[in-house]
Amino acid sequence: MLEDDLERFRSGARRRLLVLGGLNGVLFVLLGGRLFHLQVMKGGAYRVLAENNRISLQPVSAPRGLILDRFGKILVENSPDYRLAAIPELTGGMRGFLDRVAPILSMSEEDLETVLRQAKRQRSFLPVKVRARLSWEELSRIEAEIYNLPGGMIQVQSIRHYPYDKLAAHVLGYLGEVSESDIRDFHDTRFRSGDLVGKTGTERVYESELRGREGVREVEVNALGRQVRELKLTPAVPGQDLYLTLDTTLQQESEAALAGHSGSVVVMDPRTGEVLVMANQPAYDPNQFIRGFSSKQWKALVSDEDRPLTNKAIQGQYPPGSTFKMAVILAALKENRLTPEDRFTCPGYLDRQDHRFYCWKHRGHGALNLEQAIAQSCDVFFYKIAEKIGIDPIERMARNLGLGSLSGIRLNGEQAGLIPSRAWKRKVHKTIWYPGETLITAIGQGYVLSTPLQLANMTAAIANGGTLYRPALVRPNSGFKPEVLRHSRLNEEHLALIKKGMEKVYYAHSGTARRARPDFIRAAGKTGTAQVVRHRRQKDGELLQVTERRFMDHALFVCYAPADKPEIVISVVIEHGGHGGATAAPIAKQIMDRYFDRKRKS
């Protein structure tokens, strides 16, 4: 009975399935008929359409923003790059084509192989790049021969050009082909493979502003790949120009003053935190990243002990040496453990437990007050006051002056330096803080590390009365607003004492920079000499002869000028330069002389 019902249903349903099967057949005929109509009956017409009427979407590249200095001088621009390309299917044999151009462009067999391989990898109606960066001579010879070179075409592309070559290379940065990690970092930007993107410096940090947005041109191209007409153009949006705070002339002068050394110079405006100069030597030429390196050139660049690719101003971490002493004095004054009248006697060393701490001048300085101690950079004076106040106030004051933490300048890879503390020692070295370590910290040795930029910023805070700015590299169109990191709340009387001591560095008889006084104004500064090798002195106090350069001390110098109304601060670090007063201070003098000479004349 149930089976009957099912059977009846099944026979009914079968008829309906037959209808569906028939419908299937009808649809097959319909679709097949349409195929026949399009492909067989009108196939020829469509073939012509396909050949004559290839619509293609061509990207219109957006010009990248320029980078200019504070006076509008162009530091980075775009220049046209002429390249030869060829459409393989029109050349009548790519090999023959290449053999004809090879002598003109002096291309090696290896170069030709590369082009042929590329040609094989892509479709034969798309252009293959044969040679980029044609010289004017090559370009004109190719143009003259172009009628013998079917399928060949000259393409123009815009490439980045750094007119001052190595100038401020580390600040400007360079471009490179987009990589996986770049795509992650700039996830809002749509890249196509082979796109160039900022890799370091402002080129990277301001990538999104500089980049602009690519446009699209929809064109009809004929069978020869030539454009028949343009259908629609979505114009590219050019990248924004970037005005830096740098002063190109002063940057040039600073780099020249630094030439021959390995080191760094930072010049800042203490009133705003603007960076006028950030110079590093040795440097590299960013244009080379566009031209491409030979493997030998690249190896030389990477293995150079003086690290030409490093922006030492923010990445080099050096013991500040005696430039740290301002922080120690300010700490002691703040703790009320030191007065301007206090005098300490320096016999050339200080014995503590079983260790003898030497002054740099091991004949001794005699009795000194704090101004004299700064001017002559007496180490024993600082051992004694450090011993009185301990490490904690020194650490607090150093941090107050911006040491031991990132300055926040908008550049990649800035290092924070290091200001040691009891907690840090316990955490990293798993031991307690020893009193002797306070003494060597007080002369900027031991664990203390700082970058040239941090030293400049510290000096700026002293010069401007205690305001720590975020060092700025860019002046936005909307107007530059200095950004304050912190108001250090330094006592004005304390600052006046320090400043007086720093002036004496120049103008006292025995001031450590007395031989590097600037010509046109009165300045104030502090020398520093940072030991590279810890136990240079033997127990009996005799100096080891240090001849090998890599064991020589770093020379440091910080200063501001004019002393009464500071408008620039300079920090100089010369790796293995010896004494700060002898090597670093003269570089600062040169820079100040040029700056104030120009100012005087204008």
């Binding site: 099912l6 009846r8 349903a13 399009l38 073939r47 359409l49 290839r54 259908l231």
Partner: protein, 389 residues
């Protein structure tokens, strides 16, 4: 007969319910090998076309990913075919349908938006499209409904309201997303099942008439871009760079393939960047351009054979449920193919439905292979399989 009078649900206790599952050897023998062979052929050709569509070379990883997806989907198909008991699908048909309906509601509330539509549920590990599942769930639920009704004299007007609601509720939800292509598929598949269940011819014509009248209403409910697509179907030349662009370029691609095609990897239309969706929805135009009329017709033939095979399996199903589900799933496959190819050939509006087994993508492939797995299951448990008539 007396059971019938007591009402629908009771009739689910039919003789066929009590049948045992055939032994493995018998299941292997009853497996529709021909169907599998056709599926493998279409997929193989599809991967070849895909290779060309993505430009070969560096993009070969796309191909491998698609191959991996197919491997996974094939495993699922075989599991569905061999494992489990026929009755389970029937028993849980309404449950599956109900859960899917809830997911469809959830997707409107919490789903992720892609290409201006809200279709996806993000499950952490993978994203998931409830509307895809609904296609199968609806077929199962309708099969169960008409199975329980046991209508032998055809479907009457009063019997139409429940199935109509079963179709219209998910349809409404899918239209909200909006996913016009899936909406069309769900409604056509639902209608085919109702038709196969025995809707009277009068009913069929009445339905067609209603459809004809409701089209202008549907027009008003469509998004602007959907209206635009319908309009450009008839006048593609009006907007050659906008909505008409796909259709014009697709027709040029297909037409220029001619009788013999341009050859593997040699389609100029397909390889200038004119079709943004050439490896997904418009892959058939790549096939037609490169393999010509004979190639395209051959693939079309393979599809038609798969559909015929599906109808044959349905005809031999052991009970009403099997028959109706088989028809529904076959229709699901067939409609998807017809809409896609019709769109590529400029016969139907561009609605964004992938070509089954060939287009790049996982969601639709999974649905298709689930459908094929269920068809194979129905075939294994057909009435010849140890079932006395």
């Amino acid at each position: 007969m007396s059971l019938l009078n007591h009402g629908g649900h009771r009739t689910s206790i039919l003789a066929s319910d009590i049948e045992d599952v055939p032994a493995l050897g018998e299941r292997l023998a009853r497996f529709p090998w021909g169907l599998l062979f056709l599926i493998l052929m279409v997929t193989g050709i599809g991967l070849g076309v895909l290779y060309s569509a993505v430009g070969g070379g560096e993009n070969v990883s796309l191909l491998l990913r698609q191959l991996g997806r197919f491997g996974g989907a094939l495993t699922l198909m075989l599991m569905l075919a061999f494992v489990g008991d026929y009755r389970l699908f029937r028993r849980y048909a309404y449950v599956i349908y109900g859960i899917t309906l809830l997911l469809l509601i959830l997707v409107l509330i919490k789903g992720s938006v892609g290409m201006g539509a809200r279709r996806w549920l993000d499950l952490g590990l993978f994203r998931f499209q409830p509307s895809e599942v609904m296609k199968v769930a609806l077929v199962l639920a309708l099969g169960r409904y008409f199975h329980d009704r046991a209508i032998s004299k055809g479907v009457h007007w009063r019997d139409i309201w429940t199935p109509a609601a079963m179709i219209l509720v998910p349809l409404g939800l899918i239209v909200q997303q909006p996913d016009l292509g899936t909406a069309v598929m769900v409604s056509v598949v639902g209608c085919v099942v109702v038709f196969a269940a025995g809707l009277s011819w009068k009913g069929v014509f009445a339905g067609l008439a209603t459809l004809g009248l409701s089209l202008p209403m549907a027009w008003n409910f469509m998004h602007d871009y959907q209206q635009q697509r319908v309009r450009t179907l008839f006048f593609p030349e009006e907007d050659p760079l906008g909505a008409g662009y796909h259709i014009i370029q697709s027709k040029i691609a297909v037409g220029s393939g001619g009788v013999m095609g341009k050859g593997f990897m040699a389609g100029s239309q397909s390889h200038l960047d004119f079709l943004p969706e050439r490896h997904t929805d418009f892959i058939f135009s790549v096939l037609a351009e490169e393999w010509g009329f004979f190639g395209a017709l051959f693939v079309l033939l393979l599809y038609m054979l798969i559909i015929l095979r599906g109808l044959m399996i349905s005809a031999s199903a052991r009970d009403r449920f099997g028959l109706l589900v088989g028809v529904g799933l076959t229709a699901l496959f067939g409609i998807q193919m017809v809409i896609n190819i019709g769109m590529v050939l400029g016969l139907l509006p561009v609605v964004g439905i992938p070509l089954p087994l060939v287009s790049y993508g996982g969601s639709s492939l999974l649905t298709v292979m689930i459908a094929m797995g269920l068809l194979a299951h129905i075939s294994i448990h057909s009435r010849h399989a140890g079932h006395s008539v």
